[in-house]
């Protein structure tokens, strides 16, 4: 089915990242496999979110940051000159830590992406809204209130709306930055269910501080510590018999 699509969608090669003079990431090497969930874990401030934001160049928006090394999408360097940020971010979508719906209606939120990327036919937008909301398992709850403000939804619904909003631009890779950290357990469960649905069609990278979540949803796990990617491998292996002592300590709850 996925002929022509490489097995490795994204890769970072000896990636260093600086906030001003502070080095936040050192020599990160990782490959993100197609249509799998890759989880990034590690204690607060270890650089896992920073790394995630390198994958669609969201860090470009922060003044005084610098990237050294290479990040590629399907083999093309995303930090090369002449790369269109808008195109890159269309292909590599992002869901943020806190739900951030726009102050518009649900419908306008979902169709915002398609509209800026050039779609303006009413019926097509309607169709996109419906399919994306269905993919995000929100359609049944909001189909009668598409004109209502998105900010009136509950936190869990808002986060699914944000996922639907990203799906509406048909990204290839989905970056999720602790998408459940602001949600209650029930909403968290629904988002995790959603992720296992979505991985059949999308490549997902998720940052989480919840190790159980990483174990539940991912095929591959990377462990970050002090800006270094200590270890990356199959989730089962990382959680059961990691190679590195530091990973073992973290998994067993000895620190962090």
């Amino acid at each position: 089915m996925s002929e022509g699509v490489p097995v490795i969608r994204m890769a970072a090669n000896s990636l260093d990242f600086y906030y001003g003079s502070f080095k936040a990431l050192t020599g990160v090497n990782i490959s993100v496999p197609n249509r799998k969930v890759t989880a990034l874990i590690g204690p607060s401030g270890c650089g896992k979110s920073t790394f995630l934001r390198c994958l669609n160049r969201m860090n470009d928006e922060i003044v005084g940051t610098k990237v050294v090394g290479k990040v590629s999408l399907d083999g093309d360097d995303i930090y090369a000159r002449g790369v269109s940020l808008t195109d890159l971010r269309k292909r590599v979508g992002m869901v943020f830590q806190r739900p951030n719906p726009f102050p518009m209606s649900i419908f306008d939120n979902i169709t915002y992406g398609p509209r800026i990327h050039g779609e303006n036919k009413k019926d097509k937008l309607q169709e996109i809204a419906e399919t994306s909301l269905k993919k995000a398992a929100l359609w049944d709850e909001v189909k009668d209130s598409l004109k209502k403000s998105a900010q009136d939804l509950s936190g869990g619904q808002q986060q699914r709306l944000c996922i639907a909003r990203v799906l509406a631009v048909e990204p290839e890779v989905l970056l999720m930055d602790e998408p459940c950290s602001a949600l209650d357990p029930n909403s968290t469960f629904r988002i995790e269910e959603l992720m296992s649905e979505l991985k059949h069609k999308y490549t997902i990278v998720i940052v989480t501080h919840n190790m159980q979540q990483a174990a539940r949803v991912s095929e591959q796990t990377g462990f970050f510590l002090k800006g270094e990617l200590v270890e990356v491998g199959e989730t089962a292996k990382i959680f059961n018999q990691p190679d590195d002592q530091r990973t073992d300590d973290y998994i067993r709850g000895r620190f962090g």
């Binding site: 669609n56 969201m58 928006e61 003044v63 269109s84 940020l85 808008t86 195109d87 890159l88 971010r89 269309k90 979508g93 992002m94 943020f96 806190r98 951030n100 719906p101 726009f102 102050p103 518009m104 209606s105 915002y112 992406g113 800026i116 990327h117 050039g118 303006n120 209502k148 403000s149 998105a150 900010q151 009136d152 944000c162 909003r165 990203v166 631009v169």
Partner: protein, 676 residues
């Protein structure tokens, strides 16, 4: 206390070891209530201003009744008082000012918040805020002497040549006219719109910007769809506050509008506004009870208009702040209705005007008339719509078109910010050149009683008068503002504090000309003569709300743990405030006071009705005194070159004074907070 029993139980009547002296906490209560009284002054003042103006204008109200609002005949000889020309003139010039200043101010605000790197945005916002400190009489002088002649030579002929067929640009153009007034007003409210919009734009959460960027929106698209949408009601509030200012502005307008008490259709003709009428006719009206009453009634109307505008603007801003985080569906209903107007109303009106203009152009100039400015704009507009349509079909073209739009908007916004800076430089440049040429030692040594052909005149009386008036104003304004500010910051957490704060903001928005008329009605009329004291009182009233609000803001910035450290040692609340919190906020409070002083030092309008002016040096509190601003106004509008030079010299000295205070004040607290 030696207690044998380890189980201590509560025995009624037994003095607890925790019970202090009987009147413990009394000091705190007294302190709180004293500050409360001071804070109530703002509410009291608003009521008093309304009541006093209403009472003193009863003669004309009985004479003309409600028809003062609808009659367009202002004929003092025949005791006909119709305020319509002034109301219309006020609304037209203010609308014109908003039309120019809102896009520019908003664009400059977006440039400062969203585009410019810090090393540009910091100095540029500093410069723009300095424009706000320039006294309005200097704007008037510059407008009358520099801008009006420039417009008459270069802009008005062009407007007549290309738009003369439209009634609003019908010839002939006069040197002073409504257009010039609108333009000067626009420059004056530009910094205000910029700084308030900037504050509002900053309340839009960064997470929403990230959401749009993260989906591949360009920065301009993010600004247009997310930032402006989220900040909408706050920006509308800012625009309304600016409208309140424009409506109440006196000195700059009275000098450039031409003061013609008839309704005119063309913007190139002279008009009149309510505040400029007050400033202009007051002298002859002071001894005529009926005319005086008519002017007081106009001041009352102005008071009511600005009160309504300011109150609703403040409510909108409060509402907008809440809305940035939580949604509100009733706002969407209003938005939906506005959408209909936007979709059908605007295109029809604009289309009709364009059609009229094109027909007029062609009929007057033949086929060559199709190359006029309106036609070019229409062609550009059509071209951009067509480009959008074509590019949409191809992904690559579409991305290029979006990038081009983004760049175009960035250039536009940067241009707006640049224009704002250039305007300030132009003003300072002219004042400096003309002022230095005219300045000599006589300026400080002699008073202004010299005849118009004697070049040795000076402003000694004005300088001394300004110092006196500012001193008296400070004596009234600083203690009340300071104590009131302490109340709202330290004891005003609840609803009551919010009301006081609201009242202070509303009082702050009442035009100085209204406060001047009030001070005239309340302090001059009963006593029977003009006096420095009445002028000082008017200036003091103007200081109260600004000092109150900055004091409050500064006190709130003192970290809680500092208070807790003191309270935790057993200090009382009042003790903590006086010996810990106030000293910690000292720099900020002093800055606020300095800015308020700079502002009243440049005031003219309220002094015309209270301190009145004096040709000679006077230091008596109960006698009329002059001020630099009043002297600049009277000399600048005279016909004698010697006096006009004197006005320039005065403007230079005043500008140096005011800008120095503002610059020192702002530098002292730079990077800590943004002052308005």
């Amino acid at each position: 206390m030696p207690q044998e029993n380890s189980t201590t139980e509560y025995i009624p009547g037994r003095p607890s070891s925790l019970q202090g002296k009987k009147n413990a906490g009394l000091g705190d209560k007294v302190f709180r209530n004293i500050t409360l009284l001071f804070s109530l002054v703002v509410v009291l003042l608003i009521v008093w201003i309304g009541v006093q103006l209403f009472k003193e204008s009863s003669i004309t109200r009985h004479l003309t009744g409600i028809s003062i609002l609808s009659s367009s005949v202002w004929d003092v000889q025949h005791q006909q008082y119709g305020a319509l020309p002034f109301i219309i003139g006020t609304l037209v010039t203010s609308a014109l000012a908003l039309l120019i200043a809102v896009p520019m101010g908003l664009g400059a605000a977006l440039f400062l918040t969203e585009i410019a790197p810090r090393w540009i945005s910091t100095p540029v916002s500093f410069i723009i805020e300095l424009i706000a400190a320039v006294p309005s009489v200097i704007f008037g002088l510059w407008g009358f002497q520099v801008v009006c002649p420039f417009l008459q030579d270069h802009v008005n002929p062009w407007l007549i040549a290309h738009f003369g067929s439209l009634p609003i640009f019908a010839p002939p153009a006069t040197l002073t006219n409504m257009l010039a007034a609108g333009l000067i007003l626009a420059i004056m409210i530009l910094p205000f719109i910029t700084s308030v919009s900037r504050e509002v734009i900053k309340t839009v959460p960064g997470s929403q910007r990230e959401a749009a960027l993260g989906m591949g929106a360009t920065k301009w698209e993010t600004v247009r769809d997310v930032v402006l949408k989220g900040a909408k009601s706050g920006i509308v509030g800012a625009v309304m506050l600016a409208l309140g200012r424009a409506i109440g502005e006196t000195m700059a307008v009275v000098m450039v509008i031409g003061n013609n008490p008839h309704i005119v259709k063309s913007l190139l003709q002279p008009g009149y506004t309510m505040p400029s009428l007050l400033a202009n006719e007051f002298n002859e009206a002071a001894n005529e009870p009926i005319q005086r009453s008519a002017l007081l009634e106009i001041a009352f109307i102005l008071f009511i208009i600005t009160l309504i505008i300011n109150a609703s603007a403040r409510l909108l801003i409060l509402w907008g702040n809440r809305q940035a985080t939580g949604g509100n569906s009733s706002s969407e209903k209003i938005a939906a209705k506005l959408e209909v107007v936007k979709k059908f109303g605007f295109p029809i009106v604009i289309g009709a005007v364009c059609l009229y203009q094109i027909v007029a152009d062609v009929s007057s100039k033949g086929i060559g008339g199709l190359l006029g400015p309106i036609e070019l704009v229409l062609v550009l507009f059509g071209l951009s719509r067509w480009m959008t349509k074509v590019c949409r079909k191809d992904n690559k073209l579409w991305n290029r078109w979006r990038a081009a739009n983004h760049n175009a908007m960035y250039v536009l916004f940067s241009g707006f910010a640049a224009i704002a800076c250039i305007l300030l430089f132009a003003l300072v440049y002219y004042v400096a050149i003309q002022g230095f040429r005219a300045l000599n030692p006589n300026f400080f040594l002699n008073d202004g009683s010299k005849p118009p052909d004697d070049p040795t005149g000076g402003m000694k009386n004005g300088i001394i008068g300004t110092l006196m008036l500012v001193g008296m104003g400070s004596a009234v304004g600083i203690p009340i503002g300071l104590m009131g500010g302490i109340f709202v910051a330290e004891f005003g957490k609840g609803k009551f504090g919010a009301y006081i704060r609201f009242a202070a903001d509303v009082l702050n928005g009442i035009p100085s000309v209204v406060i001047g008329m009030f001070a005239y009605a309340a302090f001059v009329l009963p006593i029977g003569h003009f006096s420095a004291a009445a002028g000082g009182a008017a200036l003091g009233i103007m200081m109260i709300p600004t000092i109150m609000r900055t004091t409050e803001e500064m006190l709130r910035m003192v970290p809680t743990n500092l208070r807790e450290a003191s309270l935790g040692l057993g200090a009382t609340r009042s003790r903590t405030i006086i010996s810990i919190v106030l000293p910690a906020a000292r720099t900020g409070i002093v800055t606020g006071i300095m800015l308020a002083v700079a502002r009243i030092a440049g005031e003219t309008a309220p002094l015309l009705f209270t301190a009145f002016g004096n040709q000679f040096v006077s230091t008596k509190v109960n006698e009329p005194v002059s001020s630099m601003t009043m002297m600049i106004y009277r000399f600048a509008t005279s016909a004698y070159p010697v006096w006009i030079d004197l006005a320039w010299a005065g403007a230079l000295v005043l500008l140096i004074m005011v800008l120095t205070i503002s610059i020192i004040a702002r530098l002292a607290t730079r990077n800590r907070y943004a002052l308005r």
